[in-house]
């Protein structure tokens, strides 16, 4: 039967072009790719981006420095706090503001919470794309708990907008620390639950092992970072190589796998969730007292309660809101380890109250470049598994 099939096959199979279009249940947003198929095997994938291009960098050039923070958070709505952290760190390095100890620990807490937040949603939708429906409901149950934490501290569920240049907007409410401790205690058991669903699941292993192979050389050449490059064998984590916000004082290990395929990226992200949980526990122990924002008039907002009592704080606050802060002339590139990889913010300032140029190095945008290489030769269903293993967020891809 197979030989006759192959003989009949030779003379008539021309390529079929299929539109994996902007509105598709498994493209995690408005991503479009024209896929050339030979029967069921993918011959070539040409992505078409821009369906969620919102002019982020141009809008930032017309905003004051502290007005850019909500825009930065909407640029990657899955790990919102790590985006505003990247922007705030860049501006603080340019202005030479040193953030107090307590604010640094709170920032690490929020960065790790948003990493777990983003990996949970990725795990749910990735398993859903591969056919497992249950993990989505397990993961979104944990996400609701993290959303409660964000809401408790900053009011916003998805995008808390909690960070400011020079620290954070307000101190942690009293119930926060106990609730976070309760979360960190039972979260490890939850990750074990997810692992029982997927890690040793034969169907999941067949669907993801050996699929979407990205060798280390290709990964570095194509600029992949974060779980993509750690899944291909390079233990490169910016929290370890260029520590920021006091990450050198925390003891955690970098999750790295040698398999280079979708399954090893899954294992990397699962271990990263456990490592983030470890860091959260350490932040709870070492949470120091003290102020939550630096005191630098004309650059950093004065404390809220002082505005109503002290005259000069009111003037500083007023001048900062009306005219914005004056950054020194120069350019700086600061990158952090966002849930998707190296999130860089290249800021050029001409001394004015607005960023002269803000180049956002979005990891999802760069990781997506390797989709064509990984998908070639696999079946169409594997293309969906590979696309979800890259963990793209379209607002970051299209900026």
């Amino acid at each position: 039967m197979n030989e006759q099939v192959r003989r009949m096959e030779d003379f008539q199979s021309e390529l079929m072009e299929l539109n994996l279009g902007p509105h598709h249940p498994s493209t995690h947003g408005v991503f479009r790719a024209v896929v050339e198929l030979d029967g069921e095997t993918v011959v070539n994938v040409t992505p078409h981006l821009g369906y969620l291009h919102r002019g982020y960098e141009k809008t930032c050039e017309n905003k004051h420095y502290h007005q850019v923070i909500p825009l930065a958070e909407r640029c990657d709505y899955m790990g919102a706090s790590s985006n505003s952290l990247a922007f705030c760190l860049t501006v603080e390095k340019m202005l030479g503001v040193d953030v107090p100890e307590r604010a640094q620990v709170i920032r690490v807490m929020f960065a790790e919470l948003s990493r777990i937040f983003s990996h949970l949603f990725w795990l749910g939708t990735h398993a859903h794309d591969v056919g497992a429906m249950t993990p989505l409901f397990y993961n979104l149950r944990e996400r609701e708990e993290i959303m409660n934490l964000f809401e408790l501290s900053a009011g916003g569920r998805l995008m808390p907008n909690y960070l400011r240049i020079g620290g954070v907007i307000q101190d942690l409410p009293e119930g926060f620390v106990e609730r976070l401790r309760a979360f960190t205690e039972h979260f490890d058991r939850r990750v074990d639950e997810y692992e029982t669903l997927l890690t040793k699941n034969v169907i999941y292993m067949d669907r993801t092992q050996g699929i979407g192979v990205l060798s280390l050389k290709d990964a570095i050449g194509l600029g992949a970072s974060g779980p993509m490059i750690r899944g291909s064998g390079l233990a490169w984590d910016i929290r370890k190589t260029e520590p920021y916000c006091g990450y050198e004082t925390y003891d955690f290990s970098v999750a790295v796998e040698k398999g280079c395929d979708a399954y090893s990226r899954y294992l990397v992200r699962i271990r990263e969730m456990r490592e983030s949980n470890r860091i959260l526990k350490q932040t709870l122990e070492k949470l120091p007292g003290g102020p939550i924002r630096a005191r630098q008039p004309g650059v950093v907002f004065p404390p809220q309660e002082e505005i109503y009592t002290k005259m000069e704080s009111l003037i500083h606050h007023f001048m900062l809101v009306v005219e914005g802060l004056k950054a020194p002339v120069g350019e700086y590139y600061q990158c952090i380890e966002s849930p998707r990889g190296e999130l860089g913010c290249y800021l050029v300032s001409d001394g004015g109250p607005r960023p002269y140029r803000l180049k956002w190095r979005a990891p999802a945008f760069v990781n997506l470049e390797s989709l064509a290489i990984m998908a070639r030769g696999h079946l169409f269903a594997d293309l969906i598994a590979i696309l979800s293993s890259v963990d793209i967020v379209l607002a970051e891809v299209d900026r």
Binding site: G21, V30, Y51, L52, K58, L71, F137, R141, L158, A395
Partner: protein, 169 residues
Amino acid sequence: MAIERHLNDTVHVTNLEWFVNWSRKSSMWPLGFGLACCALEMIATFVSRYDLARFGMEVARPSPRHADLMIVSGTASKKMIPAVRRIYEQMAEPRWVIAMGACACTGGIYKNYAVVQGIDRHLPVDVYIPGCPPRPEALLDGILQLHAKVMKEQSIHNPRVTCVKVAGE
């Protein structure tokens, strides 16, 4: 509907109308149409904590052929708007549109060259939900208001004809 030619507004038409509206309201299938950040809050509304299934709406159909309600959740960029218009036109009547989030209502914080300043320049919108992103309770409230609006429709006397608006009018 085709039937109203024979039933010229006798009393049972209003009961039939009530029945038709009630059946449409209580099993309105949304189209899985998430554009940006509001999509995550829409998904949070579908899932167990806020549970859209209480209103018979947990089936988010990917194809516009089976969907009745298009929840435009997120920013409609100028490159995406032709696709949004086409998907809306390919939905079967009767169809409704909810503009979820500030970006869908008025372009939100992205007042620039790349974003359509409000989805109602292209689609007839039934319910606007402010918020960036709106909380799941706000989405549920918007859906309940849409249900109330559907109940008041005269779906037999003069059924709604909804079509895409002429470009940018």
